[in-house]
Symmetry: C2
Subunit: 419 residues, 2 copies
């Protein structure tokens, strides 16, 4: 059997976003433009281990274009973290085996901290074994917690969803407050950093505009103080809209709503902060309360994507292919902000070891002194990221025309492997 042409492998990792497929679309389009064969791993690194490789050449140009307006992860993603090279040697070696069998010369791994770490380790092992391979990390996460890059593709759209949804709910509560709901709690994603909760702050400005209180994981949750503030806001404004990060915890470090389960990355699974807070407000203050837990809605709402975010998601995809073909091993295309006003940005290369396993915290100067709101500095940073609209085309049925790929796998060449 003839050796296939030098091949690029793209894989998606971790929680998906409204625009990770836009990155995929840009990767495949750029590879096509450069006449490079592109495969995509089914379900992230798992597909690479199992030799389940999607032949993207079977997809039409229209389908690849439509990927850019389709949320979710078109090739499947996964929550699997490879351990150290020593502890997980068999799996790393299997990856190199699969890559060699399919002449994969460029590996693009689209994910967060953990994925950058995996890409880095694969690259080290390839060097050690003398396998010609260029590994590129491609940034993605709604949590905005990647180091080096000014922001992460996926965050801007989730942030826009959050700001718009908080604003819309607030108008609802304002209309009902006289005789009904007086307190509304919106729960935002963010395990350790309050980036999405902070984005909720863009819904309004000034002390009387919603959200009136934001609870950040960066500040310990002080129930008595929180409840006193809710009461003060209701007495002054007539109602109170609260945005709470899923990751808030008490002074003892215990998550306010710990569901007690752990995912395969070792992250505690959270959820239920909003119902907990609503219960406390109702019990202690007696106000009628409503709450929302948008959960996956906030990271899959492609219908409300930020144009800035979409542009950046596509730019990192395109740059990733360019870096790969230039042999810029163990790098990641990141977003560098060159101006706040007007907002300007460009893509540049960062070394993967500066990104892997670091976590970008929200600057202390982004949280208001009283701990319940965002500062002007936060607004200056956040606002450009939610700017611009990029709605998908809708069908006659009133639903966006999201594409489903064929995802035809190339023929396996190796024995099966228990991934």
């Amino acid at each position: 059997m003839p050796q296939p042409a030098p091949t690029l492998l793209y894989a998606q990792s971790g929680g998906v976003t409204a625009v990770i497929n836009a990155t995929a679309s840009a990767v495949i389009s750029e590879a096509r433009a450069r006449k490079v064969r592109a495969l995509a791993a089914r379900n992230g690194i798992l597909g690479a281990l199992r030799e389940e490789l999607v032949d993207t050449s079977k997809e039409s140009a229209a389908a690849i274009r439509a990927l850019a307006h389709t949320p979710g992860g078109a090739f499947g993603s996964c929550r699997v973290k490879l351990k150290s090279l020593e502890a997980d040697r068999a799996r790393y070696e299997r990856l190199l085996e699969v890559f060699q069998a399919h002449n994969i010369r460029w590996f693009l791994y689209n994910g967060g901290n953990d994925s950058a770490d995996t890409a880095l380790k694969v690259s080290k092992l390839a060097t050690e074994y003398g396998v010609p391979l260029t590994c590129i990390g491609v940034p993605k996460t709604v949590d905005n917690d990647l180091a080096v890059t000014d922001c992460c593709p996926g965050f801007g759209s989730a942030a826009k969803y959050t700001a718009v949804s908080v604003h819309e709910c607030a108008l609802d509560v304002a209309a009902m407050a006289e005789t009904s709901t007086k307190v509304f709690v919106y729960e935002a994603m963010g395990r350790h950093a309050g980036w999405l909760a902070a984005a909720g702050g863009l819904a309004g400005n000034g002390p009387d505009e919603a959200p009136h209180l934001i609870l950040f994981p960066e500040r310990p949750y002080d129930e008595a103080d929180f409840l006193a503030n809710v009461r003060r806001v209701v007495e002054r404004v007539g109602y109170c809209v609260v945005v709470a990060s899923e990751g808030i915890h008490g002074a003892d470090g215990k998550f306010v709503a710990d569901m007690g389960t752990v995912d395969s990355f070792g992250h505690t699974q959270l959820g239920g902060v909003s119902s907990f807070l609503a219960g406390r407000v109702k019990a202690e203050l007696g106000y009628k309360v409503h709450w929302t837990l948008p959960d996956y809605l906030q990271r899959s709402a492609r219908h409300l994507a930020s144009k800035t975010d979409l542009d950046q998601a596509m730019a990192v995809g395109k740059a990733a292919v360019q870096y790969a073909l230039k042999g810029m091993n163990a790098t990641m295309p990141v977003i560098k902000r060159t101006s706040d006003s007007p907002y300007r940005w460009k893509i540049e290369a960062a070394k993967l070891d500066k990104v892997a396993n670091h976590e970008k915290k929200m600057p202390a100067g982004f949280i208001r002194k009283d701990g319940y709101g965002i500062t002007a500095a936060a607004r200056k940073y956040l606002e450009p990221l939610i700017r611009g609209e990029a709605p998908p085309p809708y069908g006659r049925n009133g639903i966006p025309n999201y594409v489903e790929l064929q995802n035809k796998l190339v023929r396996k060449k190796l024995p099966a492997f228990e991934a």
Copy 2:
């Protein structure tokens, strides 16, 4: 003091929707076109009782136009139900007193069943007292449970939000299912009728497309059967998306997630069905589960309004003014469907006593035989209602440009009244 010109009073009642302000916009525009003075009650019937009447002539034409793309209730709504004419005589008489003091000849009450009932009672009392007053009910409710009308303004947009959100979440879960979330539960509003849960069914078609299971309040919740179905879907498709109505209950009639509180209309306050179901799936089947409770998001998401719904919301507003000026007392403009394909509708007048306190159930033929999905008849009815997009204009800040009215009150002429 000279008597004011004959005046129209508009009031909003009950839970607000993405398009109730579009109805308000149409009412005020039509009144202006016909040179009729229009006031709006602050916080619904409460404002009428308290003589808190907004002078809509103080609002610019641009503000009234912008109302049509602004969610919430611009004048404030309320959850206050007047009792019978006998039991609540003092309040009904106060209404007539306020109406006479401000020369209110036309009263437009924009709400659901309860509001139609109030408008009808006010109209009866006015007749009894010989007060010249024309009372018009204007339909509004995301629950779609008003009798006579083919559908209710507000429902189509909430239905579109539901269908699009379920579809987007499903793409997320499909991408994650191999190693992470296998079951997702979406909770839809609807106390007694599964209209919004049914709308979730528009997200897909065929047994393998999400949502795979819909739980309707019209069918008793059978836990063993539900869990067996979840397992079958996961084994066949790889994941399972469930849409559950907040109002589902067991064979004994007990709500699955009864929060135990009651609003001023006497309706039980619900919420938490999705977390309950998620907990059962996790405990009994061991699958990783996520869930969402969109709550007010589904009825305030003007950014995702249905164009059909918006057009109907404005049409009933315009017709309400026309009916009022023609003296068509105790009527409601309703939507009559004249054709399914192509979808055509028109506005016609219904007698308020045919609407008041009736509740439109979902036809039995809309629920699939196995109880977990919608039929072709349901699709034929629902699909036109979510058709078309009508996005609001967005600002440079990435948020829709929703308008806030000045809501200047006219001077009171009567002694205060404890409403």
